[in-house]
Symmetry: C2
Subunit: 215 residues, 2 copies
DNA sequence: CGGTAAGCTGACGACATGACAGGACAAGTG
DNA sequence: CACTTGTCCTGTCATGTCGTCAGCTTACCG
């Protein structure tokens, strides 16, 4: 799956090299959580990893290159999000539970990978194709699943024919992602986490099924 | 209203000084649209403005300081967003129109101020209080208005008592802002702008009124 | 015309960047 | 055990940005 890991100058990395490389990635990840992306410097990452800047450049072209690598790793782990919807039903009472569990799982995933996802989001918003490819990869499973559900209910005539299922699904997924990023912002509006979740679940439910949840 | 403009070292800026300062801000704004925030350098902004880096530091402590200033200006212009909802009704057919016009106006505002709002969003997501204060200022008028409408309908028993109006409103506003930032991302999902807008309007309508629009 | 304050810049030390050549180290070979 | 080989890491250097300061230029006013 993962083609051999290579250094910038083309050599294949051995055991020791891969360890160093991973350590650099780990330290970078930590730095991203504790300081703004703009202020992350190669020299700091290297120092934190107990190595030198030159070593960093042996494995990554620059900070952005390493960030992309981290983002890819995160995207690879995002498969778990798909399970939140696999085999779930959007009918009757179970729909409300499905919505709640989706919101829960989604926020949890975002909270865990908070720092790197923030950078991915920025890169995507700035129009960098590499980043929004990754962003898509992360959101795709949930997005497709939601779109399918909307399309299915649409076929039953429960939802207006001329809305695009992918657009509804995309809007909902975008909302979840943004809400997760701005949880602190909500508290400034006097909204606590515990109050935010049901609201998001309600909106997801409304968006997918077109009607209020039957609790 | 605007307290006197001052240089970093405390002098009051005169006519010429204010011109230079504004020119630097304009150039910074342009640079933000054309290159990633991370890569915006003082020296480039200064060169573009036909002046020297030292001059830049006379008016702003650093790039971030200038960005905050730009963001404040944008926030000040965000009053227009309030008008999108002033005196509008969420009853019957007019509700659908209200929702559509809100989405239209919101996306338009975001498109216009795209670059700076992106940076504000990042700053807020990174937990910088100065930035999320500004983000709140921009979103507040719409958010409060929506929250009031939800609360009103809630009083009439049309919406579940135990959802927090501010949480619903905040979620919707957050969705609009994020959708506006990621319009390119939607096109990768095969969703065109023209299809996105009605979906967002639908979700807003559902969220505020709790039921499908009567077109 | 001379004084004063605003406005601007050249130059500088400090530091991050990114490239290279060469030293350190582990593993295999005779 | 000495020797070779290839991986891995670092010291060092040219380049370029950062942020500061002293001092020159410009505008305004009596």
């Amino acid at each position: 799956m993962t083609g051999q890991v290579r250094t910038v100058d083309g050599r294949v990395a051995g055991r020791r090299g891969q360890e160093t490389r991973q350590k650099l990635l780990d330290c970078l990840s930590e730095m991203l959580s504790s300081s703004p992306y703009r202020d992350v410097k190669v020299i700091d990452v290297a120092r934190k990893a107990g190595t030198s800047p030159a070593t960093f450049y042996q494995y990554f072209p620059d900070v952005e290159g390493a960030v992309l690598e981290l983002a890819e790793q995160t995207a690879a782990e995002s498969g778990g999000l798909a399970e939140l919807l696999e085999g779930r039903s959007w009918a009757g009472k179970s729909a409300w539970q499905t919505a709640q569990e989706l919101v829960d799982g989604f926020l949890e995933f975002w909270r865990k990978n908070d720092a790197i996802l923030r950078v991915v989001d920025l890169g995507a918003a700035e129009g960098d194709k590499r980043f929004y490819k990754i962003r898509m990869k992360v959101l795709n499973s949930v997005n497709n699943s939601l779109a399918d559900s909307v399309a299915a209910l649409q076929a039953k005539g429960r939802i207006d024919k001329d809305v695009n299922p992918a657009a509804i699904a995309g809007s909902l997924v975008t909302m979840l992602a943004a809400a997760a990023s701005h949880q602190k912002g909500f508290s400034s509006w006097g909204v606590k986490q515990a109050e935010l979740k049901p609201s998001l679940a309600l909106l997801v439910h409304l968006g997918v099924t077109g009607k209020k949840p039957a609790k």
